[in-house]
C-alpha cells in the first residue's frame, strides 16, 4: 500500500498561511477571551471537527453515512468508561477514539457492501439500534448514563480539542494533496469506472470510514470530558448527524476549509436562534436545512473555489484570443 501513496500536487507553504494564522489565533483564545467566549470557541471547534471528519467520508467519497452520530456517541461512552477505569483524563479521548476506530473498521466490513440509499438507511438503522441498546445496558447506566466525576476543565479540554483540530486539518490537507485524494474522488464520481481503472475501492472506503469514525469519536470524547457526563439522549441524537451535514453543506463538501467556515456560521446562527426564538428554533432549523440544500448545493467555500476556477479559465481564454 505504502508505495502507491504519493503526493500528486506539491505542498505550497503559502497555501498554509491562513490555517497557521488561524491556529495561532486559536491558541491565544483562552488567554484573551472570557470563559464564556472560550466555551463558544470550543463549540465552534467541535462542530468544525465533526464537519471535517464527516467531510473525509461524505465530501471526498460521496457516501452518505446517516448514522455518523454513532461514532460520536460511542467515542463519548468509550472515553467515559476509560476515565472511570482510571485512564488519565487527557489520554481518555484518544483511547476512546482508538476503540471506536477499531469498531468502525469492523462495522465497515458488512456496511460498505452496500451503496447509495441502502448504505444511508443501514447506517441510520444501526445508529438507532446502538442508541436504543445503550438505553438498556445496565453497566453503562441505562438512560441515566455515566458520570465522569471530574471538574469542569474548559482550558485543558479546549487545548486538546485544538490539537485534534490541527491534526485533522493536516490529515485533510495531506489526503487532498496525495494520490489517496485523487482515488477517493474517482470513487465518488464513478465507482465502477474507478474499480476498472485499478483503484482498490474497498481499501480506500474502509480507510476513510475508519478515519472519519476515529476523529468523530475524538470530538465525542472531549465533549464527554467537558460535560462530565454522557447519556444516550445527548450523544446519540440523529439531529447531531443532521447538524454535521449542515456544517459540511454550508461550507462546501469535499473542500478543506469548507467545514471550518460551516462550523463557524452554523454555530453562531444556532446559538442566536436558540437565544432569540427558543420555541421556534427547531422550526427555523428545519427551514434552514431545506433552504441550504435547495439554494447552495456547493456551499460557500465550494462556490468560491468554483468562482476562482472560472475566473482563471476565463483569463486563460482571454490571453489566447
Amino acid at each position: 500500500m505504502a508505495k502507491h501513496i504519493r503526493l500528486v500536487s506539491p505542498i505550497r507553504p503559502l497555501e498554509l498561511t491562513p490555517i497557521t494564522a488561524l491556529t495561532a489565533v486559536l491558541i491565544a483564545v483562552p488567554f484573551v477571551l472570557t470563559t464564556y467566549q472560550t466555551s463558544i470557541t470550543f463549540e465552534i471547534l467541535r462542530y468544525a471537527i465533526l464537519g471535517m471528519a464527516l467531510n473525509l467520508f461524505y465530501g471526498l467519497l460521496g457516501y452518505v453515512n446517516f448514522g455518523q452520530v454513532a461514532f460520536y456517541g460511542l467515542g463519548a461512552y468509550a472515553t467515559a468508561v476509560s476515565v472511570i477505569v482510571g485512564v488519565p483524563l487527557f489520554l481518555a479521548p484518544f483511547v476512546g477514539g482508538l476503540i471506536v476506530a477499531g469498531l468502525a473498521y469492523l462495522l465497515s466490513l458488512p456496511l460498505l457492501r452496500t451503496r447509495g440509499i441502502y448504505f444511508a438507511i443501514a447506517t441510520l438503522g444501526l445508529a438507532e439500534t446502538i442508541r436504543l441498546s445503550f438505553l438498556k445496558i445496565p453497566f453503562l447506566g441505562g438512560s441515566y448514563g455515566l458520570v465522569l466525576h471530574t471538574s469542569y476543565q474548559l482550558v485543558e479540554a479546549y487545548y486538546t480539542l485544538l490539537a485534534i483540530f490541527a491534526s485533522l486539518l493536516a490529515v485533510t490537507y495531506l489526503i487532498l494533496k496525495s494520490s489517496i485524494g485523487v482515488e477517493l474522488r474517482a470513487i465518488r464520481e464513478d465507482e465502477e469506472a474507478a474499480e476498472s481503472m485499478g483503484v482498490n475501492t474497498v481499501k480506500y472506503k474502509r480507510l476513510v470510514f475508519t478515519l472519519s469514525g476515529f476523529y468523530t469519536a475524538l470530538a465525542g470524547g472531549v465533549f464527554a470530558w467537558l460535560s462530565t457526563y454522557v447519556n444516550p439522549e445527548t450523544v446519540f441524537q440523529t439531529l447531531t448527524t443532521i447538524e454535521m451535514y449542515i456544517v459540511v453543506l454550508i461550507g462546501g463538501a469535499g473542500t478543506m476549509l469548507g467545514p471550518v467556515v460551516g462550523g463557524i456560521i452554523f454555530y453562531i446562527s444556532k446559538i442566536n436562534l436558540l437565544v432569540n426564538y427558543p420555541e421556534l428554533h427547531f422550526l427555523m432549523f428545519g427551514a434552514l436545512l431545506t433552504i441550504t440544500v435547495r439554494l447552495a448545493p456547493r456551499g460557500i467555500v465550494g462556490g468560491l473555489e468554483q468562482y476562482v476556477r472560472m475566473r482563471r479559465i476565463a483569463k486563460l481564454r482571454g490571453r489566447r484570443a
Binding site: 438503522g125 438507532e128 438498556k136 443532521i242 435547495r294
Partner: protein, 291 residues
C-alpha cells in the same frame, strides 16, 4: 412467564395492530417504489393524520359512534390529501430529482417542521380518544372492540388499494414504474402524473393509518412518528419494495412478533428488533432486495 393464553392473546393483539402497520407500510412502499424517495418523514404524516382525526373527534362528541368514525376518517384523509399536494408541488417534486443526501436532509427538515408546528398547536401532551365498541370474546381471547373495528377498516382499505393496484390502469402504471421506471416511461406512462399520484396515495394512506391510531391505540403525541417510520421501513424491507402482498403478510407477522416480544421483554427491544431487521436485510440482501 408466558402462558399459552397470554401468548394467544398477545399474538391476536399484534394481529390487529398489523392492519394499521400494513396501511402505513403500503403507503411507504408506494412513495419509495415510485419516487425512489426515502421518506424519513413518513411517520410524521401519520402523526399529523392522527391529530386531524383527534381534532375531529373532540368536535363531534356525543354524536353517534359511526358518524364519529366516518368524520374522523374523512378529516385525516382530506388533510393528508391537502398536505400531500401542497408538499408535492412545493418541495417533493424537486427533492425527488436531487441526490440521496439532499432528499434525506430535506425530508428530515420537513419532519422537524411538522413536529414543531404540531407542538405549537397541541403541546407535547399525549392525546387520544377511546371510542367504546365494547369487547369481543372468542374462547380464551378477548379483543378490544375499537381495535377490531380499526383493523377491519384498515383491511377494507387495503383491499381497495389492491383492487386499484391490480385492476385499474393507473394502478398497473404505478406498479410498472415501481418495477422499471425507464421501461415504464418508454411505453408512454405519464411519469409526472404517476409521481404525484404515488406520493399522494402514500401520504393519504399514512394519514388514514394515523387517524385509526388516534381512536384505537389512542396514543397520539408529536414524537410518535419516528417509531412508525422505522417499523414501516422494516416491514417494507422484509416484504419487498415491489410486492404489496408480501408487505401485507410481513406487516401482520411483524406486529404479532413485536407484540409477543413486548410482553416477554421491554418495548424498547421491539424497536431494536425492527432496526436489526432493517440493517441485516440491507446488508445481507443488498441491492438484490429490490428485484
Amino acid at each position: 412467564m408466558l402462558s399459552a393464553e397470554l401468548l394467544i392473546q398477545s399474538v391476536m393483539f399484534g394481529f390487529l395492530q398489523g392492519g394499521l402497520y400494513a396501511l402505513a407500510s403500503l403507503g411507504l412502499m408506494i412513495t419509495w417504489g415510485v419516487l425512489r424517495l426515502v421518506n424519513v418523514a413518513h411517520g410524521e404524516f401519520l402523526m399529523v393524520g392522527a391529530y386531524a382525526s383527534y381534532w375531529a373527534l373532540t368536535l363531534m362528541k356525543g354524536v353517534a359512534i359511526t358518524t364519529q368514525v366516518a368524520a374522523a376518517l374523512l378529516t385525516s384523509a382530506l388533510l393528508g390529501l391537502g398536505l400531500a399536494l401542497l408538499l408535492y408541488f412545493s418541495v417533493i417534486k424537486q427533492l425527488a430529482k436531487v441526490e440521496v443526501l439532499a432528499s434525506l436532509l430535506g425530508l428530515f427538515g420537513l419532519s422537524l417542521i411538522m413536529i414543531n408546528i404540531i407542538i405549537l398547536i397541541w403541546t407535547v401532551d399525549v392525546r387520544g380518544v377511546v371510542l367504546d365498541f365494547g369487547y369481543v370474546t372468542i374462547g380464551p381471547v378477548t379483543l378490544i372492540g375499537s381495535r377490531l373495528v380499526a383493523f377491519m377498516i384498515a383491511i377494507v382499505l387495503v383491499g381497495f388499494l389492491f383492487l386499484f393496484l391490480y385492476k385499474s390502469y393507473w394502478g398497473s402504471a404505478l406498479r410498472a414504474v415501481m418495477q422499471n421506471r425507464r421501461a415504464a416511461a418508454l411505453v408512454g406512462i405519464n411519469m409526472d402524473a404517476i409521481y404525484m399520484l404515488g406520493f399522494t396515495i402514500g401520504i393519504v394512506l399514512a394519514s388514514i393509518a394515523g387517524g385509526l391510531v388516534s381512536w384505537s391505540i389512542a396514543h397520539v403525541e408529536p414524537f410518535m412518528g419516528g417509531a412508525y417510520t422505522l417499523k414501516s421501513f422494516a416491514i417494507v424491507l422484509i416484504g419487498g419494495v415491489t410486492n404489496p402482498v408480501g408487505i401485507l403478510i410481513s406487516a401482520i407477522t411483524f406486529a404479532a412478533i413485536e407484540s409477543v416480544f413486548a410482553v416477554l421483554t421491554d418495548p424498547v427491544y421491539s424497536m431494536a428488533l425492527a432496526l436489526a431487521v432493517i440493517v441485516s436485510a440491507i446488508v445481507v440482501r443488498g441491492e438484490k432486495l429490490f428485484g
